[in-house]
């Protein structure tokens, strides 16, 4: 009996599934945290939430690197036959873009805190000191990376929304296995 940890050409394994949902939860949580933390009147709570946002950002970066390595070292399941020719071409592009954003968002945040004149150390979950990226501190650099982080976040939200809409369309409209095969590696999905 084959292990259910790894992918094969017909289904995702547990590792890919767990990484997908873990990263999904963190990314959506980071969107919410990011919007809330810059709109608070309490500077104290804002400071603490920003540090939490940084902690989850570094966790996200680590998980995304692991996920990309796993993706490259594993078989990618083929799309079900129900997927049409246009989507067959667009879906891989959107998935690729999602990977780019998963990397670029935490990296741009890391760059932002590295160049900030505030020089607030990054200590993920109060566990260890994360060094800054070797970038020069300056107010213009901080403005640049702040804007970059915001625009990437907006674009990322758009992509995630598109991705969720597509998954729901497959599940409720086309009634295929695109969503369910990301829930469990059950062999039922092979029937498709």
């Amino acid at each position: 009996m084959p292990t259910l940890i790894t992918n094969d050409t017909t289904r995702y394994g547990w590792a890919a599934i767990v990484l997908h949902w873990l990263i999904a939860a963190i990314v959506i949580g980071q969107f919410v945290l990011g919007f809330v933390m810059v709109r608070l009147s309490s500077q104290r709570t804002a400071f603490e939430l920003i540090q939490l946002h940084k902690s989850f950002g570094f966790l996200l970066l680590g998980l995304v690197i692991l996920r990309i390595a796993w993706r490259l070292g594993n078989a990618a399941p083929a799309l079900p036959r129900s997927v049409g020719p246009l989507e067959r071409r667009v879906a891989p592009l959107v998935h690729f873009a999602l990977y780019v954003f998963q990397l670029a968002l935490p990296l741009s945040g890391w760059a932002l805190v590295s160049v900030s004149m505030l020089e607030i150390p990054s200590v993920p979950f109060n566990l260890f000191v994360m060094p800054d990226l070797p970038l020069a501190e300056s107010d213009p650099a901080e403005s640049f990376w702040t804007s970059a982080h915001w625009y990437l976040a907006y674009a990322g939200i758009g992509l995630v929304a598109l991705h969720i809409a597509a998954a729901l369309r497959h599940h409720f409209w086309l009634k295929d296995t695109v969503l369910t095969r990301m829930l469990t590696p059950s062999s039922d999905h092979r029937a498709e």
Binding site: Q43, F47, Q51, M117, I120, P121, N126
Partner: protein
């Protein structure tokens, strides 16, 4: 011995301040008003990974009274206005003034009232007192080293450590240390 060496060094460097090492208490006795011009109240807070956050209070007032017969009955009172905090970074200053740290709008004064002064060397003393910030009062100790005495002016170098968490200012720990290092130069003018 250290105090003697300090005395020699002081004599050597401050020609305007002779008989420094053997300060007769009666020479220094009297009431002084802290002069902002010759004084500074600096602080620093260490941070994770090295370095720290350093700043100063630009606005403060106070008095020093040195008792003629009993140094232990000397008195030091200082009032710091936290609104005047400065670190060289405006956003940090705004954060320190806000309710995250000093809450300067509701707590415009930080007060120190000495309760005892104990001589620990020829030119140094341990000053114990009640520090009040954000409505909380705790006993704190500072070391005062005489750094100059001449014609109606007395100068002290004062150092001490304060745990900020006790005053409801623990924001940012442990990224920023709970220990605030104070380094003050207090110049008093007689009268």
């Amino acid at each position: 011995m250290v105090a003697r060496m300090f005395g020699f060094a002081a004599v050597a460097t401050c020609l305007a301040m002779p008989v420094f090492a053997a300060v007769a208490l009666s020479d220094a006795a009297g009431s002084y008003t802290i002069s902002p011009a010759g004084s500074s109240i600096r602080f620093s807070v260490g941070k994770a990974g090295g370095g720290g956050l350093a700043g100063a209070f630009a606005s403060f007032k106070g008095s020093i009274r040195i008792d003629n017969s009993n140094v232990g009955r000397s008195q030091v009172n200082i009032t710091i206005f936290p609104e005047s905090v400065g670190t060289g970074q405006g956003r940090v200053d705004a954060f320190l003034r806000s309710d995250a740290v000093f809450d300067a709008a509701n707590n415009p004064e930080i007060q120190f009232r000495s309760t005892s002064v104990r001589r620990i060397g020829e030119t140094s003393a341990l000053v114990t007192g009640r520090l009040t910030a954000r409505g909380k009062t705790f006993s704190e100790k500072f070391t005062a080293e005489l750094a100059g005495l001449k014609a109606g002016t007395i100068k002290f170098h004062v150092t001490g450590k304060v745990l900020r968490s006790r005053y409801g200012m623990d924001v940012g720990t442990p990224i920023y240390s709970n220990v605030v290092d104070f380094d003050m130069t207090l110049t008093g003018r007689r009268g």
